[in-house]
Symmetry: C2
Subunit: 337 residues, 2 copies
DNA sequence: CTGAAAGCGCTTACAG
DNA sequence: CTGAAAGCGCTTACAG
């Protein structure tokens, strides 16, 4: 493969001119620039990654720490990984994927060998073991998710509290007064994942403010569990006419299938909102009103902040993206019922 | 971060001694080695990645080209990505994940900048556009999957033909003579993915050899489609008592749910085999006899071959891993029916 | 507007 | 068994 000397020779200039012509870091005569560009193209030249790293400039590599243990990996996780990679590519960055089995040792490795310019942490839990390491590592980092203590960290996430309030208010505005919340798998509440807690707490608080009758029940990802959970909601909340789903795609499918089997019509008998879903609810049957959890937005913003930090430095901060509600016809005014 | 000079100073030796002590490429006095090791530990030293790359030795980085377009990414894909990463880590390699949007340009980029020592191609289709590029790139590569033309390539995959034969023979051995094959989404057969074709062809061929009545129907991933497909199988094959599933996890779940609803008992009324599944059929209801498609085995073998190729060179070859059948009670002898 | 040269942190012949 | 030195391919002050 061609190196910078080959290009310089082909263009009849020095290697510094080649370097500057490519980086644009100093002005070059138009004719010179053109000859360099032609040589680059002709030789399919790309600067050696190792040499660039060594100069201490940039590695153009990001580490992505994604907690993907062999068992628990949904399509949702994948969407976030893809979103980070796509965002990084827009800045000409490639991504080294570090998986859970490897969480802290992987971060330590890429940091101390100066392999990457920065780190993205995905799916951050309240007391994430990676946080302490990050603080000690002194490598620019952005988190997707909000841990308990955020001092000195750059964090991005959907504003789950606002999303929860939005889902409650939407249904309340339509006259619903008895609203159920079908949540995630119970183990998710047990281990420190933070957003399910944040969502549930804000949901209950907003319902309290609006003096609504609400109930929360988690559910596992299987038909029997979904049925049992839905029945429990109905028992705790007789006459429930509003339902908020804060759970994964399979569970939402099962819920809709069950409603269909039982002859419960959406939205005629029950208004349903899909909250903080990272998948497309348009293909559900029926399509559900949704407050999207846009992987591309949160991850994109995290990458953008990291890049800005690398370039000019940014203050630590927690950025919560405002949720929006997309109406697809699964909610209706209580009067209609 | 400490560099090799810091370590040399701390250990009271030259930098070459540090380098050799770490690499083990020449003999070192035990006492010297120990002092170096202590210094390395004390300073948390790790060789600078850029410097190592530049010397042309090894980058310890692999590119993983995974065809993950934003829409179609199942947990199955993720399992393969994880399997490659885990396998690579065993050789002290990290993985740069390249996604579909980026397929050929990404490979070109990492190759011509000498970022990676080798490449793994996932989910290779019959006429994969990446193949031609790989041939021109001159970077060691291993494929998971088998393209139409394999000259000069290192390929690893499950032996889908053998797996198909195994599934047919298993049911035939039990006395079943009317066996349905429920396949993947039709579009998968249309675009060049190779294993669905290979599986189907071998299934039909083996059934022909055994003079069985068989039928094949593809199915999309939704309840209506699964029902329609199953009904078509029954129509084409009245009295069907054996069913082979060569489809993804959601579809298999839907099938079982449907059988349950219709009062069709497994295996009493219908013997079912899950073929080439990369997920765990133990948690299905009921658990299904399965011919696993072990992501960790195929990816592990591909990485191992790539590493061997890097180290000592290996001949191009196509390695097909022999399938096995795991019995979990979803098939029974025809006599019982 | 352009070039010659130093130096990033390693690895590895070359010497001893 | 160990060290001094060259050189990998860049980037970027330093000169002009």
């Amino acid at each position: 493969m061609a190196n910078i000397h080959d290009v310089a020779r082909a263009a009849g200039v020095s290697i510094s001119t080649v370097s500057y012509a490519i980086s644009g870091k100093r002005s070059i005569a138009a004719s010179t620039r053109q000859r360099v560009e032609e040589a680059v193209l002709a030789l399919d030249y790309r600067p050696n990654a190792g040499a660039r790293m060594l100069k201490g400039t940039r590695t153009n590599l990001l580490a992505l720490s994604a907690p993907l243990h062999a068992g628990s990996h949904g399509p949702a996780h994948m969407a976030f990984v893809l979103a980070v990679i796509n965002a990084a590519r827009a800045y000409d960055y490639d991504v080294v994927l570090l998986t859970q089995d490897d969480a802290t040792s992987g971060l330590r490795r890429v940091a101390s060998s100066a392999l990457v310019d920065g780190i993205i942490l995905l799916d951050v839990s309240q007391d994430d073991e990676r946080i302490a390491l990050i603080r000690s590592l002194n490598v620019p980092t952005a988190l997707v998710g909000v841990p308990r203590v955020t001092d000195g960290l750059i964090c991005v996430d959907l504003d789950f509290e606002r999303a929860a309030e939005m889902s409650v208010r939407r249904l309340a505005d339509q006259g619903h007064t008895r609203i159920g919340l079908l949540g995630q798998d119970p183990i998710i509440y047990e281990r420190g994942s933070n957003f399910p807690h944040r969502f549930r707490a804000a949901f209950l608080a907003e319902a309290g403010r609006l003096a609504l009758d609400v109930a929360f029940v988690p559910s596992r990802e299987n038909t029997a569990s979904v049925r049992a959970s839905f029945d429990r909601l109905n028992t705790e909340l007789p006459g429930m006419t509003g339902l908020v789903l804060h759970c994964n795609e399979p569970v939402q499918s099962i819920v809709l299938e069950m409603l269909d089997q039982r002859g419960i019509r959406v939205p005629h008998d029950l208004s349903v909102i899909s909250a903080c879903s990272s998948f497309d609810t348009e293909h559900l049957n029926p399509p559900l009103d949704v407050i999207p959890l846009p992987a591309s937005d949160t991850c994109g913003r995290a990458v953008a902040l990291l890049m800005e930090h690398l370039a000019i430095g940014v203050e630590p901060r927690v950025e919560l993206l405002p949720p929006i509600l997309v109406e697809l016809g699964s909610t209706a005014a209580r009067e209609l019922v």
